[in-house]
């Protein structure tokens, strides 16, 4: 079970984590992209953090919709529409809820994946955020089905996200600006997969604390 308060704490914590990792993500993006991923994600989530108090009394669906709209209108680049659509899909999937059962958390994860696939037309192995999000989603669903607690399932999901993130290193990018590098994109970790991993890791830490 994940409460609304935990969702709010998670999103606030993501703003802190992205601020701390701004330069790290930007350095990763400079290697294969255009050196703005950390800057953009930080700008978006700082804005999210300022918006959250105004929706603290709303349901989780409404909160996630606010996150979505804020990211769409402040991040830019490819990350804005991708993360924006991801949270938008999730907000619809959990509309009206003030707490999420493990099954609803699984639905939320699934909506995240569907949002990315719909907007970015990406497939697993294209060297994108999907490469950490998708294994995390599968792992969470399997762990819950096997009877794990929410925190345990999230811990396993985060481990899968980390593994997926690391597996982007040898891949040749098929999407985004890194795809223009062709073979030269291999050997670098995908910054989108990294930011997704950080966001999921923060969710686990929030629920676990």
């Amino acid at each position: 079970m994940v409460s609304k308060e935990q969702i709010l704490q998670w999103l606030q914590a993501v703003a802190v984590v992205l601020e701390q990792n701004k330069d790290y993500l930007t350095e990763q993006d400079a290697a294969i992209g255009d050196a703005d991923h950390g800057i953009n994600m930080n700008r978006g989530f700082q804005k999210v953090a300022t918006q959250l108090p105004s929706v603290a009394d709303k349901d989780i669906g409404n909160i996630l919709k606010t996150v979505s709209m804020t990211l769409i209108s402040s991040v830019g680049g490819a990350s804005g529409p991708l993360y924006g659509t991801m949270f938008l899909r999730a907000s619809t999937a959990v509309a009206g809820k003030s707490e999420l059962t493990d099954e609803e958390m699984a639905t939320l994860f699934q909506a995240f994946v569907e949002g990315i696939v719909q907007r970015g037309k990406a497939n697993l192995g294209d060297k994108t955020m999907l490469d950490s999000l998708s294994p995390a989603t599968d792992t969470f669903q399997q762990a819950v089905a096997a009877g794990a607690s929410t925190a345990e399932a999230l811990q396993q999901a985060v481990a899968a996200a980390e593994e997926g993130m690391k597996q982007t290193i040898p891949l040749v990018a098929k999407k985004g600006r890194a795809s223009y590098l062709g073979d030269r994109s291999a050997g670098h970790q995908d910054p989108g997969a990294t930011s997704t991993y950080l966001i999921l890791k923060t969710l686990w830490e929030t629920v676990n604390s």
Partner: protein, 357 residues
């Protein structure tokens, strides 16, 4: 980093404030969300042209807002595509009831944000078409991938389609023309140095004193190949021959169907250049290369075109689609027909491009 800035967070806003102050006769600037628009907009009955992209490519796109070119430009953060709310507000401001054409460079961020903007405008009853520009031959052929980037042909499409809209073409006609300009234009660029993004503060990539990067895009993203420094003639030959000898290129693009309100896919093919073609030759500075060096490039380009039996009937030389302070250049060749020549020559009055008035 040495930059003529006050605070890296305020680069885009302060630059826009300066632009508004410099050109009050041509443009106005709207803040939050940011967009630059024609002082006369909206113009009833005229198709409105909107483009946009990351900042750092000046004068593109804001410098091309005005008579005979764009009605609005949406600048994102430096090298970051603008957001859909900017494009939607710009469309609402400049629409004259004849529809809006968004000219979109093929970069995933720009494409996705403009797709969302088209959907939003459609839901508000504004007829919108998006045309993708993907003229950069440095990127490999591909059918269902990100495909080629949009670079120099964007400037040429904005000028030619801007003139067409000014002359009363309807939305479908302007969109078809824009697609034709894109299909007949090819570009390739190279870098002598990296650029420095103000918010990052250090060069995006490092190049040795004796190295160049060929096939770069316009965001400081590294190019396709690193090689040893060559003479201006050798670099020009490398770029020009790649462009001229590029064969038919096929890709599938998603375009918005304004009537149905949905995305449709269609296959488009660039025709190859042929002996006897009339072309527009565009030699562009990436921002840090002076005009004198561009003319050295043009000198060789003209010689190569003559040898390949391409007649240069129009040209454009200067910094028009730049990459901050990067040294380097790009070459664009556009195959022209009589209609495009007439539209190219038509009057234009914008901050960065003006003639015929």
């Amino acid at each position: 980093m040495k930059k003529l800035i006050n605070n890296s967070d305020n680069v885009v806003r302060e630059s826009l404030e300066g632009m508004a102050a410099a050109h009050p006769d041509l443009i106005k600037v709207h803040f939050d969300p940011h967009f630059i628009y024609r002082v006369e907009a909206p113009i009833p009955g005229k198709v409105a042209l909107i483009s946009g992209g990351g900042s750092g490519h000046e004068p593109m796109h804001g410098g091309f807002v005005g008579l005979g070119m764009l009605d609005a430009a949406c600048p994102g953060e430096v090298f970051t595509s603008p957001t859909p709310d900017q494009m939607l507000e710009a469309a609402k401001m400049v629409t004259g009831g004849a529809g809006v054409l968004n000219i979109v460079k093929n970069y995933s961020g720009d494409v996705m944000n403009f797709e969302m903007a088209a959907e939003l405008a459609h839901s508000e009853g504004i007829s919108v078409l998006n045309i993708l520009i993907d003229d950069d031959i440095a990127v490999k052929d591909s059918l269902y991938t990100q495909g080629r980037r949009g670079v120099g042909a964007t400037v040429l499409a904005e000028k030619i389609c801007g003139a067409a809209a000014q002359q009363g073409y309807d939305l479908t006609q302007v969109a078809n023309l824009c697609r034709q300009v894109n299909l007949n234009g090819r570009s390739m660029g190279m870098a002598l140095t990296s650029c420095t993004v103000p918010a990052k503060g250090s060069p995006t990539f490092s190049l040795g004193d004796d190295e160049i990067e060929s096939g770069i895009g316009i965001h400081g993203e590294p190019g396709r190949q690193r090689m040893s420094l060559k003479s201006a003639d050798e670099i020009t030959e490398m770029l020009a021959v790649s462009i001229i000898e590029d064969r038919n290129y096929t890709r599938t693009v998603r375009e918005w169907d304004a009537d149905k309100g949905e995305w449709v896919e269609q296959e488009l093919i660039d025709p190859a250049f042929e002996s006897g073609d009339r072309v527009l030759a565009f030699v562009n500075s990436m921002g840090g290369t002076p005009l004198s060096e561009l003319y050295i490039v043009y000198r060789k380009l003209a010689e190569i075109c003559e040898k390949k039996k391409l007649q240069i009937v129009r040209n454009l030389i200067g910094p028009y689609i730049t990459s901050l302070d990067m040294q380097g250049c790009s070459i664009t060749l556009l195959k022209l027909d009589d209609e495009m020549i007439q539209l190219w020559d038509a009057p234009v009055k914008t901050p960065a491009l003006r003639w015929g008035i």
